[in-house]
Symmetry: C2
């Protein structure tokens, strides 16, 4: 959580909060602040985006200071852009307070840098929400397999077998190091490591459940070096 | 700045700080903390990484609580991994406190979400430090051009003409929206927008200097819609 985010929570008249918001964050809110949980509806499904947009605008137009609180970063698969547009349409001024994205933070805390000199000059973050062959997928897996960047997959526990198979089909090296980090940045964090070819099977064998983040790339070697106490001189000097 | 980062700065005996650290962050340090600026050497060049690693280990082994303070996220082109490995080698325990990466935060503050439903299912962050044809480049530009993700280029002001030409050569649509954000997240922030074909020329015409971040992809349309007050209904509903 950022200092700016905490200050905004402490000031807010109304807070629209979400699942994945860390415990304790709402403790910073004013006692009289109205907290609306839009992470789920009473019957368990997600609150429709249109309803969230409407709540944001309605409360703001009523003259209240509204905070839209999300875990991670609101603009990394967080629909922050849609909510900003809804406010802009209603002439509601918006200040964006960026957050710490799980896409880089969870690997870092687990000991995997998404970039590392000599190993990776970039990283690609994708949603694994839909499998590669799904009509809604706009990702080019042959390109992802060849880009030369570390691949970070969010929301891809269920689709991991298809995602890794698509990357191998596209020519990515099956022995490329890979790791799945479950419950990252919590005391329950677990890391399962393997290769592109076997990581899906290993994650299944370890009964990995969402939320989990998969990292595919040579940078996973940094974690192995560090966590196993192996001589790391060669890796550092690359 | 995160709450956890601020707390660490406030506790530290020794702080190794960097350029790109926001003004005011060091004001949270204890009055008796030792501040070492490793962002530059007296003669203006960068402090060698080996020297930074050595300072971290030496101060820690002397029993002092050491904070390595960087702007952005230490593991996104920040060499955090190298410093963690150096500490691991010396059996110095390290706690990683992830930061807010400019790669997603600067576009978000400027009004460009790196992902947006219907426009982008992922994003790729690369360093533009070396041009595409440089022997040190390990990026595959034809693949980057086709991945279907938003492309975010850090440290790429000088090389922008070569980078954009390589993407066009690789088949990326020359009319793809693009924007350069200079001095992002500061009161001096400037956004120059255009297309993949003309963004390098526009940035040069506007005398854009580092630090600046380039975003290439359909998501730049969100910024245009928002900032120009155009009807955004069609964009939101995609």
């Amino acid at each position: 959580m950022t200092v700016a985010g905490r200050d905004a929570v402490a000031r807010a008249d109304v807070i629209l909060t979400d699942r994945l918001v860390a415990d304790g964050v709402l403790a910073w809110a004013r006692p009289d602040a109205e907290i609306i949980d839009v992470g789920k509806e009473p019957h368990g499904s997600a609150t429709p985006q249109e309803k969230i947009n409407r709540l944001l605008v309605e409360h703001a137009l009523a003259g209240r200071e509204v905070v839209r609180l999300k875990g991670g970063d609101s603009f990394v698969f967080g629909r922050g852009g849609e909510e900003v547009l809804a406010c802009a349409e209603a002439s509601v001024p918006v200040a964006v307070i960026p957050g710490v994205s799980s896409s880089t933070a969870v690997p870092a805390i687990a000991g995997i840098p998404v970039t590392h000199r000599g190993l990776s000059q970039g990283f690609t973050v994708i949603s694994g929400h839909v499998p590669p062959d799904h009509p809604d997928s706009s990702l080019d897996f042959p390109a992802l397999a060849r880009s030369g960047t570390t691949l970070v997959i969010l929301m891809g526990v269920r689709t991991l077998p298809q995602l890794t198979a698509a990357l191998i089909d596209a020519g990515m090296r099956p022995t490329c190091p890979a790791a799945v980090i479950a419950d990252g940045a919590t005391s329950d964090q677990r890391v399962v490591s393997g290769t592109l070819a076997d990581i899906a099977g290993r994650a299944e064998a370890e009964a990995i459940r969402p939320p989990a983040i998969t990292v595919i790339g040579e940078v996973v070697r940094v974690w192995r070096t560090e966590s196993k106490g192996e001589a790391s001189q060669s890796l550092r000097q690359r």
